[in-house]
């Protein structure tokens, strides 16, 4: 019934398009605020260098934003295209934040971005500044709603399964919006975007200084980016820890995998700094660990235990058995909607229905599952430990690097010594790709670490896919790979070209710029409408 190759290709396509989309999003989040800050300084001081800064970083923003929009449309439609059972199963909850993102956020950002570019000579200074801030807020509200949606995939609250409609339905909308996982992820994710924006400005400005171009422009840009970046880097790590803390409450399996902790240890647990997890033997072939640290970070206490992977699988077996009971009761209810006894059983057992569905990938007749099937289904709740373990470490390591980097930059900038040590400029230039690396590792951890679930504990990923054919997927995946690769090359070429051209030397908005040799298309300009 479920073609596992189609599921695998669908996952690959979703992962590829989502990670590609998120190459553009963080720069949008970060640069929009930096532009708004720069333009604010311009409006307050009236010094035209700040307007040239806003214009130049705005041009980079625009090149990036077009790709963000183009790849974002794909995300909005792919749930229905590739994950139609998912869309049916949780659309009642999951669709709302996506629609709200359009209503509240993306409309705001996308409408005013046009005015940001085209409204300079048509609006007052303050008016245009408001437009720029609205773009920045729109972008960040967008992230809020998307992370409310994603947070619900990690920690599905405020909803219940309705056997009459065969789907999850919302019971408490406020619980979905104020989901602690969503809130922590939102702050963590936008902060990561601010780090990216700040790093982009640092690296490009460093390049100008290395080339001896646009000194004043580059130093001012770096000063803004250094302070913004320092605040953001502190926020991303501190609030990342908050995100980790929340994870331990809700996704014990993910944190056990993240730490490669196979067996429950006496509290407080040790933190593995380096480990080589072995999935077959369910142990670490090698590990260097710091005693007590994980227990303290993860539970903020010295006495609370953190469960290990093997122990969690034991718990999962219980839930699978319960889930099979829920599945059986659901079948009875479906055959005979008036069976109150079965409804009663289902209303107690439904929270484990998802665990019952895990059996589906082992045998279609869930009701006949043997103890071996239960064990296999429970074992399938272990994500890919090495990938999760290492992506977490790369992300955290880079997080600490960003704090050090921006603290140093801030220190140098506050002593007005930017650019005096050439090697610092090289460090900044070569740090450019690192925020992207950290962010992609973060998403890998969040999404790959949630497997086998599409919705944690509720809906297994393999069960959520559309009934497409293998050919459909080969065609769509090839199209995406081709178009996205070509566009990535073009985007980089245009970005490099824009940077090489550099900021304008003179403010183009001064009235001298429209030369007398420029003629309208028809000699007689018609009346303005």
């Amino acid at each position: 019934m479920i073609d596992i190759d189609v599921v695998t290709l669908s996952r690959l396509q979703f992962a590829a398009t989502a990670m590609y989309h998120f190459l553009f999003v963080p720069l949008t989040l970060g640069l929009s605020f930096l532009m708004a800050i720069m333009e604010s300084v311009y409006v307050m001081t009236g010094r035209e260098v700040w307007r040239r800064m806003t214009l130049f970083w705005g041009t980079c923003f625009g090149i990036n934003f077009a790709m963000g929009v183009a790849t974002g449309v794909v995300m909005e439609f792919q749930f229905g295209m590739n994950w139609s059972y998912y869309s049916h199963y949780v659309g009642d909850i999951f669709g709302a934040p996506l629609a709200l993102e359009g209503l509240m956020a993306f409309f705001l950002e996308a409408s005013f971005i046009g005015l940001f570019f085209f409204g300079w000579d048509r609006m007052s200074k303050v008016g245009h500044l408001c437009v720029t801030w609205l773009v920045a807020f729109g972008a960040n509200f967008s992230a809020l709603w998307i992370l409310v949606a994603n947070g619900w995939m990690q920690h599905p609250v405020g909803a219940v399964f309705n056997p009459d409609t065969m789907r999850m339905e919302v019971t408490d909308f406020m619980a979905v919006v104020f989901n602690p996982v969503a809130q922590a992820k939102f702050v963590h994710t936008v902060s990561a975007g601010y780090v990216t924006g700040a790093m982009f400005v640092m690296a490009v400005s460093s390049w100008f200084l290395l080339k001896g171009r646009h000194q004043e422009f580059a130093k001012r840009s770096m000063a803004v980016a250094a302070s913004f970046g320092l605040a953001a880097a502190l926020s991303v790590v501190v609030l990342g820890d908050e995100s980790g803390y929340v994870t331990t409450e809700n996704q014990k399996m993910k944190i056990a995998a993240m730490e490669s902790m196979w067996h429950t240890e006496p509290a407080p647990a040790a933190l593995n700094i380096i480990a080589f997890p072995n999935m077959e033997k369910q142990e670490n072939t090698f590990a260097i660990s710091v005693p007590y640290l994980l227990g303290i970070i993860g539970t903020r206490s010295l006495t609370t235990e953190l469960p290990g992977i093997v122990n969690l699988v034991e718990t999962a077996k219980e839930r699978v058995r319960d889930g099979i009971e829920a599945y059986k009761a659901l079948q009875v209810v479906r055959a005979n909607p008036g069976d109150t006894a079965a409804r009663e059983i289902f209303s107690q057992k439904w929270p484990n229905l998802g665990y019952g569905l895990l059996v589906k990938q082992i045998r279609p007749d869930v009701e006949n599952a043997t103890e071996a099937d239960v064990a296999a289904a429970a074992a399938s709740t272990i994500p890919n430990v090495p990938v999760v373990f290492w992506s977490f470490r790369v992300m955290v390591g880079l997080g600490f690097y960003f704090i050090a980097f921006f603290a140093a930059a801030f220190w140098i900038a506050s002593r007005h010594k930017l650019g005096e040590q050439r090697w610092t400029l090289w460090v900044a230039l070569f740090s450019l790709p690192l925020p992207w690396l950290a962010i992609e590792c973060g998403w890998l951890l969040a999404e790959y670490g949630r497997q086998p679930w599409a919705i944690e504990g509720v809906l297994p990923t393999f069960y959520a896919a559309s009934g497409l054919t293998f050919t459909d997927l080969v065609i769509s995946l090839s199209i995406f790979l081709l178009i996205y690769s070509v566009l990535a090359v073009i985007e980089v070429i245009l970005m490099v070209k824009t940077i090489k051209k550099g900021p304008l030397e003179h403010d183009p908005l001064q009235p001298t710029i429209a030369g007398p040799d420029v003629l309208p298309i028809t000699a007689a300009a018609g009346p303005k409408l």
Partner: protein, 383 residues
């Protein structure tokens, strides 16, 4: 929580059916002229200078316009999740074609002007033309196929199975619907060009606009006759409880020739929709000829409203009929979200949609006036 909702489930479902129509019409009216202008680009503008003028007509607004589609997608997901699940997965490759166009279009607007090389620019011109034409056509083909019914069914867990492929969508009736859509959006794009440009571009746009308006009238009429006499419509033959749970498996449906026109007999006031479609296109035709650009643009918008509303009310209460097993078709009453979700989304939409309309109007006001070489050169950000 749900006993605090002042409307019953039936009302909320009906309101969301209306809102869905408003959002799709919003998309067709706002993003529609972007698509139409894209399709017209190589024809109304011959030189690079002229093409820049045309692109800068939509330059400040295409980003916002595109959000109508994204919001439409999100609203279908939130309000009618089954419609979203069945249609987007069933029309998978058609959706891919639209997505490719929607990926290339924004990039084309933004990137074309960044490099001066004529080969680079004419390549993007062709891409922009195709990326405007193809979605306009395919979206119409999709609506045509909805009227014909899509070959899908459910199993008892409400998992969808679609038994068809991309090429089966390209039937003569569906292609006719595609041409209605294409001609009306070209008419709309041409109308905006006559308003926002001058001289030779506006003249060319006027002649293409006249043709498109004429084509819209003729094709819409042919489609109406074909719908009345050539294809079957779906009719509910069992009672569907408008207050019941959203499960499309509990009803029976018959297919009868001409049944898509049954609503007009039962509720004659619904004739307003096709009348507005014809009247709008006719007045647009007059407007093009009389050189009244504002009138032309508004009436072509009215035509779009009328034509899309016609498709909507003809189908009602169906959203997505099934040709494979008509009783599995989706209706307003059995494919919606829960009452609470519909209510929360209605509150949000009632609050934010007016705000969106206000700031959109403000932006168009700031950007009013014709686009000329002079106005472009004043702005270093112009495309």
């Amino acid at each position: 929580m749900s006993n605090l909702i002042p409307f019953d489930y039936e009302t909320l479902r009906l309101v969301w059916w209306l809102l869905l129509g408003i959002l799709l019409i919003g998309f067709a009216v706002m993003d529609g002229f972007d698509l139409g202008i894209g399709a017209l680009l190589p024809f109304v503008a011959k030189t690079d200078e002229e093409r820049r003028v045309v692109i800068n007509v939509v330059g400040p607004v295409w980003e916002g316009n595109q959000v109508w589609l994204i919001l439409g997608g999100g609203a279908i997901f939130a309000a009618f999740p089954m419609l979203y699940a069945v249609s987007f997965s069933g029309l998978y490759l058609a959706m891919m074609v639209i997505l490719v166009a929607l990926i290339l279009r924004p990039v084309g607007f933004k990137y074309r002007s960044k490099i001066g090389d004529p080969g680079w620019r004419s390549t993007w011109d062709i891409i922009l033309c195709i990326a405007g034409t193809v979605p306009a056509l395919i979206l119409g083909v999709a609506v045509g196929n909805v009227l014909l019914g899509l070959p899908f069914e459910f199993d008892d867990t409400l998992r969808t199975f679609y038994r068809g492929n991309f090429f089966q969508l390209l039937t003569p009736y569906a292609l006719l619907a595609g041409l209605v859509s294409l001609s009306m959006l070209i008419m709309h794009g041409a109308a905006l060009l006559t308003w926002k440009t001058e001289g030779v571009i506006a003249d060319r746009a006027r002649s293409y606009g006249r043709l498109a308006a004429l084509a819209t009238i003729v094709l819409f009429a042919v489609a109406g006759v074909w719908t009345a006499y050539g294809i079957g419509g779906h009719v509910l033959t069992s009672v569907v409880d408008p207050l019941g749970p959203s499960n499309p498996l509990g009803k029976t449906v018959a297919v009868e020739p001409g049944a898509w026109l049954a609503n007009y007999t039962a509720y004659p006031w619904m004739m307003i929709a096709p009348i507005l479609g014809f009247a709008g296109a006719l007045l647009a035709l007059v407007g093009f000829t009389a050189k009244r650009p504002a009138l032309t643009f508004i009436t072509s918008g009215v035509a779009i409203f009328g034509i899309i509303a016609t498709a909507g009310v003809s189908l009602f209460p169906f959203l997505l009929p099934s040709s494979l097993d008509p009783s599995n078709g989706l209706t307003v009453w059995d494919a919606s979200s829960s009452k609470l979700t519909l209510w929360v989304m209605l509150l949000s939409t009632a609050f934010f949609l007016p705000i969106i309309l206000i700031y959109t109007a403000f932006i168009y006001r700031v950007m009013r006036g014709k686009v000329t070489t002079v106005s472009m050169d004043k702005n270093p950000n112009a495309y």
